[in-house]
Symmetry: C2
Subunit: 217 residues, 2 copies
């Protein structure tokens, strides 16, 4: 990145013309510190909200898929039908593994669609999966859908109003929805899927949940 | 907010002096679109990273505290020692409830401290809790610590390099650490604590995990 010594730059500007220097300062201050961050109609892209949802949800669904692969391998090694794991749950009134995966997928798909203002065109998945192959297909379909988004789809996401049918007309702002609803929810369902399998003996660890880290040295 | 019509502004600038207009454009472009977002020494505050960690971690620790209160009430109603729940786990080689709560607390405390560059002054908790009262005290201590942070502590958080002893000298950027490590981790441990209790019959639902939503109508 090109670096510029702004102090020297401004100092030179002042030397040449005090009046213009003042104008320069005012313009930069208005543009950078007041207008840009809060301009409601600006098309500023928020890469962090995109990274927090599209990129990270895709990563978590990939981790979930790999966790389910471990469950399939475990069932095969122990010679039992993996459907037993798919129908397992941690409490009699809690959703089973199939439903946890379906909800994790919907949280990713609809969370991103709502933030981008594209919920009406999101693909519909009718929750009919009963086999591991179908569940993996559901995960893949949602990851393919997420791949169609880019940071520019999130230009208005922070301030967008987000609602759901069950909220009875109430809404959250996009950033509230992301931070307090979509993000905690996807981690809840991936963790619960993980815990159902861990409880049933599948050899899983925290790394399976977190996935690879982009460590630098 | 004061609005400025930049096109008119620039046009006037050009009329007065083409040379200075060019300088003005270059300065604004450099400041706003190149320098500001990536300038490592800038004091730009990132309220979203603060909200994602300090505010939301505090909320989740509050939710966890309320979940533990429900566990205490359940043990009292069923007339068994709540310590049985504290020592429960979902798999023989997984951490028990006490350890899940301790790690959730450390994830919040150290996650925020690392992002703010204050890990050396973070309070030390030696993981000696064995009772529910002590666990609740640990949660309260961490929430009190979080309350001491403000958005300005996160001015350099995005680009800060974050490391942990077990990473053997490797590091993540602050934003990678927040999105891919600290945030997934705290939700993992709060969800696991919730699941241990749910599995043992405590009457919990998703709302206990998510907490109150700032719905607007």
């Amino acid at each position: 990145m090109q670096k510029i010594d702004l102090k020297t730059h401004y100092s030179n500007v002042e030397k040449k013309s005090d009046e213009w220097a003042g104008l320069l300062f005012d313009s930069i201050a208005l543009e950078c510190h007041i207008a840009l961050p809060f301009q409601p109609n600006s098309k500023k892209v928020d890469p962090m909200l995109y990274d927090l949802t599209v990129v990270q949800f895709d990563k978590m669904l990939g981790n979930l898929s790999a966790i389910l692969d471990k469950a399939s391998a475990y069932a095969e090694a122990k010679k039992f039908d993996v459907t037993i794991l798919l129908n397992s749950r941690l409490a009699p009134d809690q959703f089973n593994l199939v439903r946890q995966v379906q909800i994790a997928c919907d949280t990713a798909k609809l969370g991103v669609a709502r933030l981008a203002g594209k919920v009406d065109s999101a693909p519909v998945h009718p929750d009919t999966e009963t086999t591991m192959a179908e569940l993996q297909g559901r995960i893949k379909a949602v990851r393919d859908y997420l791949a169609g988004f880019s940071p520019s789809d999130f230009a208005d996401a922070e301030a967008r109003t987000v609602s759901q049918p069950r909220w009875e007309g109430k809404y959250l702002t996009g950033v509230e929805f992301a931070i307090q609803h979509a993000i905690p929810n996807i981690y809840f369902h991936v963790t619960t899927a993980y815990s159902i399998l861990r409880h049933n003996g599948v050899d899983l660890g925290k790394k399976d949940y977190l996935g690879a880290m982009p460590y630098k040295s």
